[in-house]
Homo-oligomer: 148 residues x 2
């Protein structure tokens, strides 16, 4: 499955924020940049997407940074992907029901919509909390997520 670095880095950054914001502290772009090996300038372009979607909030100035704007249990992974790329979980253009192109509509219904549905239901069924928890197990770092 093709995923752009924008989406890839966005998920990674959000996960990093969730993992590293202890008791309400914020995580700066440069911290994420260093930890995850992503260009800070590029990150500064990606993080606003998550902010605009209401998933994180930002604090300017010294000591500022980003933090989750709500509990990780209330964020669905589908929300995250939608925030970063509104086509990734979206059905392809629906073929108009004009009597013509019946086969195209059938293919759409029995293949593309099904595949899309798989992606959407999987990501809707998983919260950021659940996801970060799994990642944290693997990373085995200390973590004190802004939680539950």
């Amino acid at each position: 499955m093709k995923v752009s670095t924008r989406v890839e880095y966005g998920v990674l950054a959000l996960t990093d924020i969730a993992l590293h914001s202890e008791n309400g502290s914020s995580v700066s772009a440069i911290e994420i940049s260093k930890r995850q090996g992503i260009s800070k300038k590029y990150l500064e372009q990606i993080l606003p997407l998550l902010k605009q979607a209401g998933l994180i909030k930002a604090q300017k100035g010294l000591g500022g940074g980003y933090m989750l704007s709500c509990k990780a249990t209330n964020i669905k992974m589908s929300d995250v992907l939608d925030a970063l790329d509104n086509t990734i979980l979206e059905d392809i253009d629906n073929v108009p029901a004009d009597g013509q192109r019946e086969l195209a509509r059938a293919v759409n219904e029995f293949l593309w919509e099904k595949l899309n549905g798989l992606l959407r239901s999987f990501t809707e069924g998983m919260s950021l909390f659940e996801f970060v928890q799994k990642c944290a197990d693997r990373v085995a770092d200390g973590w004190d997520m802004y939680v539950i």
Copy 2:
């Protein structure tokens, strides 16, 4: 889910071939073009991908065209997608296990590989025959597929 027209048209064309090749007859690019409303010239670029993957065979000259090169029950939908775009069912670049970037590897494992796995297992589990059958029900056209 973002799908290129190349993939979209390719699936549509193969389905059209399966539906319209009666008892071993072939289907020409221009027939598909007219029935499905796809540029013939563009189709001529797409169909060779299916041929190269061994899914269809071609016959040049008058009365020629394309036909399935094996039974539709023996073609998996995953084969079709792979033939048209080798990234669509492929995992994203694996993050090297260098001790660094543990989080990136975890995200890969718990999100991208899972999503990819969903797409792959669904399409591997569905034969072209099954798929065309569903479409044919909807289209309700006469059909005599090269079958079973």
